[in-house]
Symmetry: C2
């Protein structure tokens, strides 16, 4: 039973037995109460919980001497600001922050279960780290600027280049394989047309130093574990998997230079967003011949590994990698979550092998997450290559999915205790009680002003407190406090040293 | 006993009882082992844990077919990047991230104990939010720029203005008092002379809607609780406390306009950094008369509340507020942590009442934290004022202090289990074992490549694993795995469904 369902009259009446002075509360309270609360602004503030408007209208809503605000010392600064966060960014008021913390906790918990170590990098990186020449969407959306020292910097659009930078920097001191994860904010400057934000948080898991596709199998396994924890099933979402080597083998057949590979991938990644004629035109413009384009598009439509093998033959790495991955996935036990789909290439130029994408089977949402193997990224930064793969998992689409499936958790504020002095002179005593409970690991909302009990009950209800602890004069003199279990209404006097 | 202290020969020998095939390990292992691990690159990779150099020199260090890296698809992007994070920023490799997570956990845990709710705001805010005219250091160091939409934006230098913005935005929907905390990254663009960084994380706790100094007492109590959790005592650190009203009363006596107040505070905040003559000159330049300056400086040197009362009289708010706070602190039970010091004004223009600063009694470090009352901030943004106070606590000085006191925690990586297939064909079986353990909440590092046992033991030691779980053919056929407790060397075969 929640506090709000308790009869307030009854609750207050029960409490009245534990203290000694007299105070008449206004309606609907009918019994005389005996609490020593002088100077309470009961009659002038009958609204219970004061709201912003109350405080704004009446500066001494709290009733204390210091309630009178001092004159404005900074009037010269007066300005009207926009109270909204900058376009494309978010505030996190408590209710949104609880959801974010819950989501991040699950990111971290799954990462921990898989033995990954958390890392982070600067939000502000050198622009050079993100400027690749393949025409990626991510580059067009770079949130870049010049700092006061005339350095070109950018708010990171993704975490992988920073990870690569750190791996190169750490060099020989690292023991491979690395299993690293990060939860970090990423930025992209895009027109706000599709309701997309300019910042989001991204969970990344990366395995550095494992050339085998067991690494990819392990990464997808981690995401599956994450989905399961949240109540998402294989009928809600799936993974489409392919390999960049499929494209590479087709390109090689037509003697298309390796240097074009990144650009071709980026064009093909737009296959679901642009008309086919547009895709063909773009491929032509970078120098892919018509015959090769037809073959490419034919291969990209393949949804079966057997069919792929028929076309590419069984000697190439593309088919071998994919077959090995699907065989592993079967043994890992999450076959029903994944399917081959040759059209998956992902939008980052640096992928070299397996690529995958988590998708909503309902078909309503954008990709939930995506990743792949990037064995050659380090050398593009001047380092020695190390085989690597990883994924990025944003905080936006998953929340949409959870909403849609009715899987969003109810995350109310919950403070275990609310402690209230029944007399301003007992504020220190109430603080002592709060300290005792906090030292035992219990959370305590200490009432910092003299407030009517009605107000205290409302607040207790708002913060979902389990217990209301009242510090009254007569009990305090006996080394005791009044404790009320708010769910049952049960109340008793408890000795201070027996509080826990 | 750690794994590394075990005799490797003995460990391997003990393990040899649980499997069935034959494999000869090279020196210093002297006994024949019976594990089914074909294709192990034992002879070619005797270095144990492969390092970056190994991987870089030998691309097929892992030994698998996919160990051969595919040709570089993105050679066009080749560039040499700076592997260091941008000037003044930090990477967080795992060891640093563990420390950061530990610190943030304590920030959050103390906030929870005090019943505070977590919030956050955008790292990138409108520049207007931070541009105050009082000449604060923080404004000179604003990390600001123009975005692609020609908007003046800034990386936040502090959290309080964003909090004020959100409070105004939420308006009447909020129930006062708010007790909010945040742990967020803040930026300042300063010359890198004193080893100060350009970004740091800051823990903020704010109480919005309480005019009484009980709020300040509660905030300082939270910081004391934090210090105590970390092993820091009142002989290590203290709080210097004063009130902006002290200055205000002196200024009023000399009929100095209220509008100058912010500027005067900012100048006085530099009193320990600049020569006194410089301070006087700056005060004169904003229009404070010499007589007033002398009186100001005299008052600022006061370290006793009694003396302050003698000079200012007992009728003003300054003395009354401070006396009430010290009386409360006495009852809250942390008197030995705090002292009156009139020279404390803090460097932000918006404080209106009590100001406080946590300091290192050793005198070596800059302020550890600081805060105060800012009852008039909201109206400077065009909102209705609400009494408020809060503090900021950075992540840099506290770490220096902990180092100095020998209180930095030892935070090693710890993964509970390492699971290893003794045959590449058993990789799926090993994954099954990992999944079973993870579903029981246990962390598992799954060995993803075929590696010599020597390598596996070294890795187990590096990740501080409690158990090594070996999945061998003959055991697996019986539905069992080999489990070795690494601290004792104890080992046994355990049925899969009895693993926990």
């Amino acid at each position: 039973m929640s506090v709000s369902k308790l009869s307030l009259t009854r609750s207050i009446a029960m409490l009245s037995t534990i203290s000694s002075s007299l105070l008449i509360l206004n309606k609907p309270l009918t019994r005389a109460l005996r609490f020593p609360i002088p100077n309470l602004p009961l009659a002038t503030n009958p609204r219970g919980l004061s709201s912003l408007s109350t405080a704004a209208i009446s500066n001494n809503a709290g009733g204390g001497r210091t309630g009178a605000l001092s004159p404005a010392p900074v009037t010269e600064d007066l300005q009207k600001i926009d109270v909204n966060p900058p376009k494309g960014t978010r505030d996190f008021p408590p209710e949104d922050m609880r959801l974010r913390s819950w989501l991040f906790f699950n990111f971290r918990e799954v990462s921990r279960l898989f033995g990954f170590e958390e890392v982070d990098f600067p939000v502000l990186e050198s622009e050079a780290l993100f400027v690749r020449k393949a025409g990626e969407e991510i580059r067009d959306q770079l949130y870049c600027f010049e700092d006061r020292g005339n350095r070109r910097v950018a708010l990171r659009p993704e975490l992988t280049p920073s990870l690569a930078r750190l791996v190169i920097q750490k060099g020989k001191s690292l023991s491979l394989p690395l299993k690293w994860f990060a939860v970090g904010q990423c930025w992209r400057y895009e027109r706000m047309t599709r309701g997309r934000r300019r910042e989001h948080y991204q969970w990344n898991m990366d395995i550095i130093g494992v050339p085998e596709v067991t690494a990819e199998a392990e990464l997808i396994s981690a995401i599956v574990t994450f989905f399961k924890r949240l109540g998402i099933t294989a009928s809600d979402v799936g993974f489409k998997v392919s390999s960049r080597k499929v494209l590479q083998e087709v390109l090689r057949r037509y003697s298309i230079p390796e240097a074009l590979f990144g650009k071709v991938c980026i064009i093909i990644d737009k296959i679901e967003k642009l008309p086919l004629a547009e895709i063909k035109k773009e491929l032509e413009s970078v120098g892919v011949l018509e015959e090769a384009i037809e073959q490419l598009l034919q291969v990209l439509s393949i949804k079966s590994l057997t069919e792929l093998e028929e076309i590419l033959g069984d000697s190439g790495e593309a088919v071998a990698d994919l077959k090995q991955l699907f065989s592993l996935v079967d043994k890992f036990g999450y076959s029903e979550w994944i399917q081959f789909d040759a059209s998956i290439v992902r939008g980052l130029a640096y992928y070299t092998g397996i690529v995958f994408e988590g998708f909503d089977r309902g078909g309503k949402l954008r990709a939930i997450c995506g990743g792949g193997r990037y064995d050659r990224l380090l050398s593009t930064f001047g380092g020695d290559d190390i085989p690597a793969c990883g994924f990025g998992f944003g905080d936006a689409v998953i929340i949409e999915l959870l909403k849609e499936k009715g899987l969003l958790p109810e995350l109310g504020l919950q403070v275990e205790n609310i402690v209230c002095a029944l007399d301003p002179g007992l504020q220190g005593a109430a603080a002592t009680v709060a300290t005792i409970l906090r030292e035992k690991g219990q959370s305590v909302d200490l009432v910092l002003e003299s407030k009517p009990l009605k107000w205290v009950f409302k607040r207790a209800s708002r913060i979902n407190a389990n217990r209301l602890i009242l510090v009254g004069d007569s009990e305090w003199q006996k080394g005791m406090v009044g404790v009320k279990i708010l769910s049952t209404g049960e109340q008793q006097e408890i000795k201070l040293d027996e509080l826990d």
